[in-house]
């Protein structure tokens, strides 16, 4: 599948909330409104605020018609597993009512929408390792189809006991604990509000093999390429992978296009499908 260039879209905000030297979850995920949220939602809410701030859209009126698109494979695994352990040890009455919303994969996206009054489409994708790039493409489609004024795309994977067990059983040694966020909007809108365009989304493709995906994205001639670097830095990124790739690409984008590949042979893969996305440097105000 390749995305038509019906409307030019750009990344105008980038934010990180990943456990590491710059982000201590023990303190950064505490505070007002956090107590009854699961780990995935806490990361998502933190990174959403930072991404909107970076894009200059915190509290902006256009958020009313914006979309939230979350990509995560393991976001709700812990609430689910923890609840069955609770029931096994006792009975359903022992499950906390505050846990119930977190049994849904969609809860992190819903919390973000509530926090910022985002009434447009609220989408969560759980597509495996290609999911993050698929989410960026889905956000672009929601904008192109006139369903959203802008989109907040979040890749989130929390490190929890069940996630750790699953990774260890499948030969994983390190995995990400956190969220990465992007703000995507029409180039024209970004220009008219004087926003800083960090990159344009030029093409997207999804296929069973890497070569076809890259071709569908129009990325065959792109020399700068990003696939395994997020995994080398953070360990397995899973549903966050494509969003991490875009954030890293934006930070290093010079005057050359960058091709991101998620789910491919040389990078992190769950062996199912490969997504490719081409990001190009801002073209200036030539629209």
């Amino acid at each position: 599948m390749s995305t038509s260039a019906a409307m030019r879209t750009a990344i105008t905000g980038v934010a990180w909330a990943v456990a590491g030297p710059d982000f201590d979850p023990a303190t950064a995920l505490a505070g007002r409104g956090m107590r009854h949220k699961d780990r995935s939602s806490r990361f998502a809410v933190r990174v959403a605020h930072r991404a909107l701030e970076d894009a200059g859209l915190l509290g902006a009126p256009e958020l009313d018609g914006a979309a939230v698109v979350v990509s995560s494979n393991f976001g709700n695994l812990d609430p689910v597993c923890d609840s069955v352990s609770t029931i096994a040890a006792g009975c359903s009455r022992d499950v906390s009512p505050m846990r119930v919303p977190h049994l849904s994969s969609a809860v992190s996206a819903a919390w973000v929408a509530i926090e910022h009054g985002i009434h447009g489409p609220n989408l969560t994708l759980c597509n495996g390792t290609s999911s993050g790039l698929d989410a960026v493409a889905a956000a672009r489609n929601l904008i192109a189809a006139g369903r959203a004024t802008a989109a907040l795309v979040i890749g989130v994977e929390p490190d929890t006991p069940s996630v750790a067990r699953l990774h260890k059983e499948t030969a994983g040694t390190r995995w990400i604990d956190g969220a990465v966020g992007l703000v995507i909007e029409p180039v024209q809108h970004a220009v008219s509000r004087g926003a800083r365009i960090r990159a344009e989304i030029a093409g997207y493709g999804k296929a069973a093999d890497e070569r076809s995906a890259v071709q569908a994205a129009g990325g065959t001639a792109v020399r700068r390429r990003l696939d395994g670097e997020p995994t080398a830095r953070f360990g397995r990124c899973s549903g966050a992978l494509g969003v991490v790739q875009c954030a890293m690409a934006v930070e290093r984008l010079g005057n050359e296009a960058v091709l991101a590949v998620a789910g491919g042979g040389s990078g992190e893969s769950d062996g199912t499908s490969v997504a490719a996305l081409v990001l190009t440097p801002p073209r200036g105000r030539d629209i």
Binding site: S92, S104, S105, A110, A113, N122, L125, C126, D270
Partner: protein, 379 residues
């Protein structure tokens, strides 16, 4: 703008064909049965709408949601006359629980789990060679979200044909979670009834094949006129009537229809106190200027709440109601809430047509809403 539905299939506690499920609904059948899978001593509720297909009754099996998905996709493609699809055919799967039941069996009972089991790409690749699969988990609005995204893919020129599906099997975590918050437990689903006590989980899968209008040479089941997708952004669990009302209004706009054009509505109707109330208030607002207004029904009393596929199941039942000119009633509705007083709720027995245009709802936890407008095959 419209998109044609050229193939469809469904499976749930009430049956394994769209016509069979519709017929069972019209004759007032219910798929509710004593809980067979979980240790009943741990729950206050004693029944669920399970698909009775386990090899050994009472012994759970992994990957049932995946199995049903593969089945309904195969049947819908065959129904469409497309048994060997192009490998790039997009498949948009709406699901609330993915394979979380398989994850539970892994976590609690030493079953097997691979990360790729948690989405549906590998199963659909093995079965049909398809790779362009998206696992959409926008709660119980997920399959209508998939439908909306499918119409966009066709509009944007990315595809001419898209499969939209929904699938879910009952998880112990959600069954237990709802058991915790619904007390006394509901004995059945009584949408819009004063005595309603809540939602009962069901399970199953549904699929449709959607094509760009005018490209399908064979028979069609109906047309999608427009789909809205939005979010209340107000509360993590309680639905907001304003959000549902906005979704209805946007669906009418996208479909270029007026409220008077809608002949029938199949609501989300989960039977919970707040959700039914929010939907009733939104419907009253949306149809206040109509006379006599659409017939309104809900079908979850028949097959329970099948979660991610619920909205798409409403859609295929609506198309079958249009074709057969028979709209099933809301089951177990004897004492309607005041808020539906001005609505033409179908209760007691089926209503008969002719019907042309239907509106179907999906209201998901987290305030995630989707509304689709469809019309029958005959113009």
């Amino acid at each position: 703008m419209s998109w044609e539905i050229v193939g469809m299939s469904a499976v749930c506690a009430l049956g394994d064909t769209v016509t069979g499920i519709h017929r069972a609904l019209c004759s007032g059948q219910s798929g509710l049965a004593p809980l067979s899978r979980f240790d009943a001593s741990k729950y206050r509720a004693a029944a669920a709408y399970e698909v009775p297909d386990r090899v050994r009754p009472g012994v759970d099996e992994p990957l049932r949601a995946t199995r049903w998905l593969v089945r309904v996709v195969r049947e819908a493609l065959t129904d469409a006359g497309l048994p060997e699809p192009e490998p790039g055919l997009p498949v948009l799967v709406g699901t609330t629980h993915r394979e979380m039941r398989t994850a539970e069996l892994w976590w609690q009972h030493d079953g097997r789990l691979s990360p790729a089991d948690l989405h549906f790409t590998s199963a659909l690749h093995s079965a049909f060679g398809l790779h362009n699969v998206h696992t959409i988990t926008s709660a119980c609005a997920a399959s209508l979200y998939g439908l909306g995204m499918a119409t966009d893919l066709i509009d944007l020129g990315e595809a001419d044909t898209v499969v939209v599906a929904g699938t879910d099997s009952i998880t112990e975590s959600s069954f237990g979670g709802f058991d915790r918050i619904q007390f006394p437990p509901p004995d059945t689903i009584r949408a819009f009834d004063r005595s309603r006590r809540g939602m009962i989980m069901g399970e199953g899968a549904v699929a449709v094949v959607l094509r760009r209008a005018g490209t399908h040479p064979g028979r069609i089941h109906g047309r999608v006129r427009g789909v809205s997708m939005n979010c209340d952004a107000s509360h993590p669990t309680a639905p907001d009537p304003a959000g549902i009302a906005r979704a209805i209004e946007e669906a009418h706009d996208r479909a270029s229809v007026a409220p008077d054009d809608i002949d029938l509505v199949i609501v989300h109707g989960s039977g919970t106190h707040q959700s039914d109330l929010a939907e009733a208030v939104a419907l009253k607002e949306a149809f206040k200027a109509t006379d006599p207004g659409p017939l309104v029904t809900g079908i979850k009393g028949g097959m329970g709440h099948i979660s991610g596929g619920a909205g798409l199941l409403n859609l295929v039942v609506a198309l079958e109601a249009i074709r057969s000119r028979t709209l099933p009633p809301v089951s177990d509705l004897t004492d309607p809430i005041e808020e539906v007083g001005e609505l033409r709720i179908v209760s007691g027995q089926s209503a008969t047509g002719p019907f042309a245009t239907a509106q179907v709802h999906a209201v998901g936890m987290g305030g995630i809403n989707a509304v689709a407008i469809v019309e029958g095959a005959a113009r």
